[in-house]
């Protein structure tokens, strides 16, 4: 036995996490944008960082990507402490910043070549063409960047972040202003990146996006990480199912001991399934039918990540 209660064959290989943030703090004169954030991200996952505006998502990404000077704490990327060596890990990192930027002097293709060069990569035109294609920018390749629409500029930012084939990519609201159709394509592309072994950290306003893509979810508010959990586990644990039943005629009372609430007019019934406590939605419905109530319509729905986010944020506020 080893000291930590594991037998030697159970000791995991000492592979450093892709990103290891410890007690990260960023204080601006007026407030703490990051207030002791600790977070570990393993290779090959898609991690979604959720939180309201001003929660500290962009600051967290900025502190990792060299845009923000941290106040205290440590950040390790691929096992390298950025205080010791801030440059080497960046060969393998990419960032899609939240704010759109572009250099009006250059065309789309030139911008990508320049970005490739910055990352110490010899010109790889095939990679550039592949990204232009994947991000639907091929027809704009030789246009100056100022001629692109907002959504196209954002796609160019995404291409720039990927042009050197990074192992770790940060996407700060990558689909803001990108139309729905292209958003789907982008999601598919992000999944493809993961399939190739790229680790993706994204922030998003569209919870649907996190729900669709993320393996794990972190919820941040006021510079504090309130929760980090596997998305499916989180949705199972906190995701409620709603049951609504409409009756054809007025129901005087519910069968004894049936959970849920009958509306005052006696025409509808509502029930919220709480995982781990109380009966399941199916059991409740069973009892309504076997009691012979005049059921006209049944609807069920499950909680969205959005509901979960709101609840966690509310609990977080209550706790502070």
């Amino acid at each position: 036995m080893l000291g930590n209660g594991r037998d030697w064959w159970q000791v995991p290989r000492p592979v450093a996490p892709v990103l290891d943030v410890d007690s990260l703090m960023k204080a601006y004169p007026k407030q703490r944008a990051l207030d002791g954030v600790s977070l570990t991200i393993e290779a090959g996952e898609i991690f979604a960082l959720l939180g309201p505006n001003g929660a500290g998502k962009t600051t967290l990404i900025g502190a990792v990507c060299g845009l923000v000077r941290k106040t205290s704490g440590t950040v390790k990327v691929f096992g390298i402490d950025l205080d010791v060596d801030p440059v080497t890990p960046r060969y393998q990192m990419g960032l899609v910043p939240q704010e759109i930027n572009f250099d009006p002097f250059f065309t789309v293709r030139e911008s990508l070549r320049i970005q490739q060069g910055y990352f110490g990569v010899a010109p790889d035109l095939a990679r550039i063409d592949e990204l232009l294609e994947a991000l639907a920018l091929t027809s704009k390749a030789d246009q100056p960047t100022r001629a692109l629409s907002g959504g196209m500029k954002r796609r160019l930012l995404i291409a720039k972040a990927l042009v050197h084939r990074p192992r770790l990519v940060f996407l700060d609201e990558p689909t803001a202003g990108v139309d729905v159709e292209l958003r789907r394509d982008l999601w598919a592309y992000v999944r493809k990146l993961r399939a190739e072994g790229t680790t993706v950290v994204l922030t998003t306003h569209y919870l649907e996006e996190a729900e669709e893509l993320a393996d794990r979810v972190g919820i941040i508010d006021q510079g504090k990480l309130l929760l980090v959990e596997e998305k499916t586990a989180l949705m199972k644990r906190l995701g409620e199912r709603h049951v609504k039943v409409r009756f054809a005629s007025k129901v005087a009372a519910l069968p004894a001991a049936l959970e849920g609430t009958l509306s005052t007019d006696g025409l509808s019934y509502a029930f919220v399934e709480q995982p781990a406590v109380g009966p399941r939605a199916a059991e409740v419905l069973q009892r309504i039918f076997s009691a012979g109530l005049p059921v006209a319509d049944v609807s069920t729905g499950s909680a969205k990540l959005e509901d979960i986010l709101l609840r966690v944020l509310k609990q977080g506020k209550a706790a502070t």
Binding site: Y28, G62, C65, G66, L67, V68, R69, P86, V87, T88, R90, Y91, M93, G94, L95, P97, E99, I100, N101, F102, D103, P104, F105, F106, I114, Q115, Q116, G117, Y118, F119, G120, V121, A122, K160
Partner: protein, 252 residues
Amino acid sequence: MNLIGARTLLGKEVRRFLRVPGQTVLQPLISTSLYFVVFGYTLGGRQAQVEGVPYVQYIVPGLVFLGVANNAFLNASSSFFITKIQGTIVDLLVAPLGATELLFGFISGAMVRGLLVGLLTWVVALFFTGAHLVNVFETALFLGLSAYVFSVLGLLAGIWAEKFEQINFFPTFLMLPLTFLGGVFYSVRGLPEPFRTISLFNPVVHMVEGLRAGMLGLEHSSPVGLALLVTLALAATALAWTMLRNGYRIKS
């Protein structure tokens, strides 16, 4: 050292000013040539001699210097400032480019423009005065030093400035007095005291004298002056490197 990255930045800087050659090369070339005509023929007069050479010829090194210094400074300051304002600084910060690579890229890009304009000015001058080049090494040394020092100073201005108002401050309130009081059109050696001694603290004086020595064989570039310029170059470089390293006015 990210060599490909540093070279890419240099290439980008050069292509950036070559995209608008009218503004970055032609316009400064015309204005320095106008100085040449006005000061050389109208004010100085065709017949006047300074230190044994016609006045038109005497001012050539100073005008070449003006082209070098102004354009090196402007390129570095405006390019870095614009990079901050338009947000493309993010591309540089995220990339594996340390302070050294950034220094190299911005300074060498600015030097290319400064030297290009300076050399073109010289070519124009040749039509008026004929060719004079006494000491190739000395000329190259002082051209290079002038371009380097003003590129670094321009970079410092670009890092420091946060508003257009601030970046526009330098050409008028720094470059103009520094160069015009730096003996571009006259010899500070002939000034009455205390102006002569005061002038010797102006680095521009030593750049211009060095070029006059190299091109025309006039005056002598003093070792003290050269030491002053090298010290200035090293100090300005160290300051710029530290600012870039710490993300001064670049990182939040």
